[in-house]
Amino acid sequence: MSISVKVGSVELKNPVILASGTCGFGRELAEYMDLSKLGALSSKGLTLLPRDGNQGVRVAETPSGMLNCVGLQNPGVDAFLATELDYMVNSGAGVVVNVAGHSNEDYIAMVEKLDPYKDKIDALELNFSCPNVKEGCMVIGSSPNAIEALVKDLRKRTDLPMWIKLTPNVTSIAETAKGAEAGGADAIVAINTMLGMAIDIHTRRPLLHNNTGGLSGPCVKPVALRMVHDIYDAVKIPVVGCGGVSTYEDVLEFMIAGASAVELGTITLVHPTRPVEIVEDLLKYCEQNNIDELSSLTGTLELWR
């Protein structure tokens, strides 16, 4: 009985990864769970220089989810390397480092800074999808050609597995995934948050002071599942599913749709012990259903004809 999975060359003890931006660098959640029981942690999105993030109200609750517009508040890649990377390594979970640039040059500079630490990092997650910053990220991630060109350039600069985290805010996520694959990516992570809005009817102003924000939580799960399915059909590289995962059944749904592993996060903000409970539930599920390898579920979806 094994719940270990592989995302390309990256071996994880189970498919549960804490999604970027919902777990910091692991320190806060370590008070609530043994991080070593998780497949991996994906770091807070890093930028080349430290960022204060957006000002004012950054969160709005929505039905079965939430909008956020944090805006990549982070200490910058140098401070990460100095004070946070070793903490993540020592946590015992796999280490995924989320990289968010304002420009191609930013991504290049960060990948070059991170590459020397390849012994400590399992994968780089290139964030081409943050909806809350004005430049880079989602702008690059909306164009299959721009993705392909940038990934190709980054591929020359590192052997580290490169996972491309895609935005759902495009007409065809299969096309952006193909761009990433053509550029030499090792895996696709889908999806980042969906661009959304909430309005105060009394003041007639957006609740979020950034006006718009990224929607996450159980409400986005059906969209994320459909997109994982689309991507799985469109590319040969592995897919990491992300979007509203809250229970072990959700993990199974994503795997059946084609995911090799999943990321989850918004649920952790409500129930901080849930990720390890999901790991335990997955093991129980495999035992009760005589499934030798959990990874054998990936892509087993049978469509209605």
């Binding site: 910091g24 609530y32 000002q55 944090v70 508040q73 952790t268 129930h271």
Partner: protein, 260 residues
């Protein structure tokens, strides 16, 4: 390892049409909680809701919070019945620092009076002389009026309507205090932002240490998501400010470090 506790509402004391004190059984929170800390409590909606702790009873293993209806979530929570189940995280955040404090002036307003009550109880248990000044809108809104009288050395109120205590806001009262009475006093204030700012400015002008408890829209309450940040001065880092997490780095901050 910290946990998310499953708890039961054991007592609901209605204070008015939009306000109630709720008491829950939770040995862990009753044992650990300090004045100024908060809990993040489930409601029927997606996110939990943060509430400053109003009181703990270590013998009964209970804690209480004051809830005022400000939206859908608080409406659901106020509508709960005794015996209803909730989940909760807590105690969360940093409470007020009491070490070395000789004399307290506590100032409360809005739902801030609930954590102020917790601080007053603590002061009484630890024999710290404590003067409470609460600002209310009107007499009908003067929640915990009778209770405060029992937990502090002296208790004064102001009302906007003027139908109880001094007419005006808390600043009107504070201006009447003689400087001689303020020797060795530390100020703690919880209430609407404008009130905390004004009281902080007054305390600073008098040279009194002052602590405030900031409030922001929150999600996780444990420092992971970074949505509840507030601006804190960062001259030493060569910057005008840094964004600190209200939930994890606060909610209590020294007033002089806050950028309002």
């Amino acid at each position: 390892m910290k946990e998310e506790y499953k708890i039961k509402l054991i007592k609901k004391e209605v204070l008015g049409p939009t306000c109630a004190v709720l008491t829950f059984t939770c040995p862990e929170i009753a044992e650990e909680a300090k004045p100024g800390q908060f809990v993040n409590l489930s409601c029927e909606y997606f996110l939990k809701r943060p509430f400053g702790i109003m009181s703990v009873d270590k013998e009964e293993k209970t804690f209480s919070i004051g809830v005022r209806k400000v939206g859908k979530g608080t409406e659901k929570i106020i509508g709960a019945k005794e015996g209803d189940s909730f989940t909760v995280l807590g105690p969360l955040g940093n409470g007020f620092p009491f070490e070395g404090i000789r004399k307290l002036l506590l100032v409360g307003g809005g739902t801030g009076i609930f954590p102020i009550y917790c601080a007053a109880e603590y002061a009484r248990e630890n024999n710290i002389p404590c003067h409470v000044v609460n600002g209310y809108r009107c007499k009908n809104d003067a929640f915990l009026y009778d209770k405060f009288g029992c937990v502090c050395s002296s208790f004064d109120v102001t009302t906007d309507a003027g139908d109880l205590g001094m007419k005006g806001n808390v600043m009107a009262y504070l201006e009447t205090i003689n400087d001689s009475e303020l020797t060795d006093t530390t100020v703690m204030v919880v209430g609407p932002g404008i009130m905390m700012r004004k009281v902080s400015e007054w305390a600073q002008a008098k040279g009194l240490p002052c602590y405030v408890s900031l409030e922001q829209r929150m999600a996780c309450g444990i420092g992971a998501c970074l949505v509840c940040v507030c601006k804190i001065k960062a001259e030493q880092e060569g910057k005008e400010f840094v964004h600190k997490r209200c939930c994890k780095d606060g909610p209590v901050f020294s007033a002089e470090e806050v950028i309002w």
